[in-house]
Amino acid sequence: MLKSDFIRVVSCDMFPTMLLALFAQLQLPVDIGTVLNFVFLILFLLFIVWGQKIQIYILMKDIEFVLRRIDLMKDEGRKISLEKLKKYSAIPDPSAALDRIIDYILIEPVSLDPAGLVWKLDYLLKVAEDRVKGELKQIVPNASDTERENISNVLEVAASLSIMYRVVRHYYIIGKKTGNQIIIIQLQAMLPDVMIQADALMGALYAYTYGHPIGDGTGALVVANLGYPKEFKDMGRDMEVCETDFEGRRMTILKSKGPGATVGYPGDSVLDVTKRRKYNLVIMVDAGLKLEGEKSGTVFEGVGAAIGGIGTEKFKIEEIVANKKIPLYGIIVRMSMKEALTPLSEEVLKGIDAATTRVREVIREKVPEGGKVLIIGVGNTVGIR
């Protein structure tokens, strides 16, 4: 506590004594009840005039606590990124390069004329990825491809934490500057959600740093189970393919290239394989966010493209299956946002086994013997072959 605070607290404690002295000087009847009545009257007036300000002050304190916590997380993200870069760096101090990469932004294409927007966005995403990969190749030439993919994802998480901190701080300062209660109340109401996201990002930071498989890699792990012991071969950009038989049916299995952290471009690979072969069924396996109260690791099914992200890959897959009239099924393993971004929990692991069994059942039910099925394992393949 600062000296000024101590003085303030002491003066607060001395207030009733001063009142008693005042009452004695004015020769008023001095008893504790009268003093209390007087104090309550002052409090009543105080809360009428400044009640709202005091409430806002308490809300601002809540925001400050969260802001301080995200600040620590952001610093941890930067520290881990720097350590990771230094481990393989060709330059003694890569901090300037790190700050530059963390601040990279993707300028979204204009959407006034939406025709062809997805392809433009897809192109820009690839350019942005190439730029980061190119820079990393210069900064950490000694790192393996897997390590470089992991570093790239660590930087992405550090950038997300930095953006989160700056956005919360922006609204905090705006609220403080303008005294706008609506902004402050909205920001305070969003704090629990912000903290859940920040915690999940911290988990992802450690996972990418060490190469732990994460919940988002559920799809990749399910198809790796289906493909084992066959080897996957490289296919297109950051993707792998494996062909194997299952009870008289031909399975083409697609996943992003492991064990480095990448989600790949499944849309491009689907376009490629469907040009060469006609499929009876397409199955997509992915991790899905559960609602609060739902059990982690439960498997549910649907019809359509089970894939998240910005939407470009989903668009490509939907376009292809709709044109070729191939049924598209989705098998999803439920988990929380934190579980999706942190190392696999035992519940999610059980869900992966259940999803693998379910994919086999669906193939038996929906694909005739001699038929062909395309299975796409969606998600980040960090820590998975």
Binding site: C12, L36, P259
Partner: protein, 142 residues
């Protein structure tokens, strides 16, 4: 309340809790006065007022204590550095099928090669069958 740095993101700002202590001190004083008033009134014929004062005073003190504890835990949370998870690697021997779980080592990945099996002693490395978060062991009940 201290000003937040607006331009330089490298700067820190401190958590100012003096006003909180000011309000808390005020609450404690009021509560003590109420308890005193209540205790004095208990001897008089109007005991209901005394009991209410006493109850309010004790509630005020409890509230102040609760808020202090809450503040302490929140301050501790702010300063606490996030720690990494406990991740384990499960390996399965390709020959004898025995399973071994050990702490995760950097470079492990699912369907990759693990350590050499100590049970059958074959040179072929075990298969990494899973990598997952291990739940902390439950504390024994009283």
């Amino acid at each position: 309340m201290r000003e937040m740095p607006e331009q330089n993101s490298g700067e820190r700002y401190d958590l100012n809790i003096s006003f909180f202590f000011f309000l808390l001190g005020f609450l404690v004083i009021i509560s003590l006065s109420l308890i005193y008033n209540g205790a004095m009134s208990l001897e008089e014929p109007y005991t209901t007022t005394g009991l209410i004062s006493l109850g309010l005073g004790i509630s005020g003190l409890l509230l102040a204590g609760y808020n202090l504890m809450k503040l302490q835990s929140r301050l501790a949370a702010v300063g606490r550095r996030p720690s990494g998870p406990q991740v384990v690697t499960k390996q399965k021997c390709r020959s004898c099928g025995s399973e071994v779980t050990r702490p995760f080592k950097e470079g492990d990945y699912v369907y990759g090669n693990g350590d050499v099996c100590t049970k059958c002693g074959k040179a072929e490395p075990m298969l990494v069958s899973a990598i997952f978060l291990q739940k902390p062991p439950k504390k024994p009940g009283p």
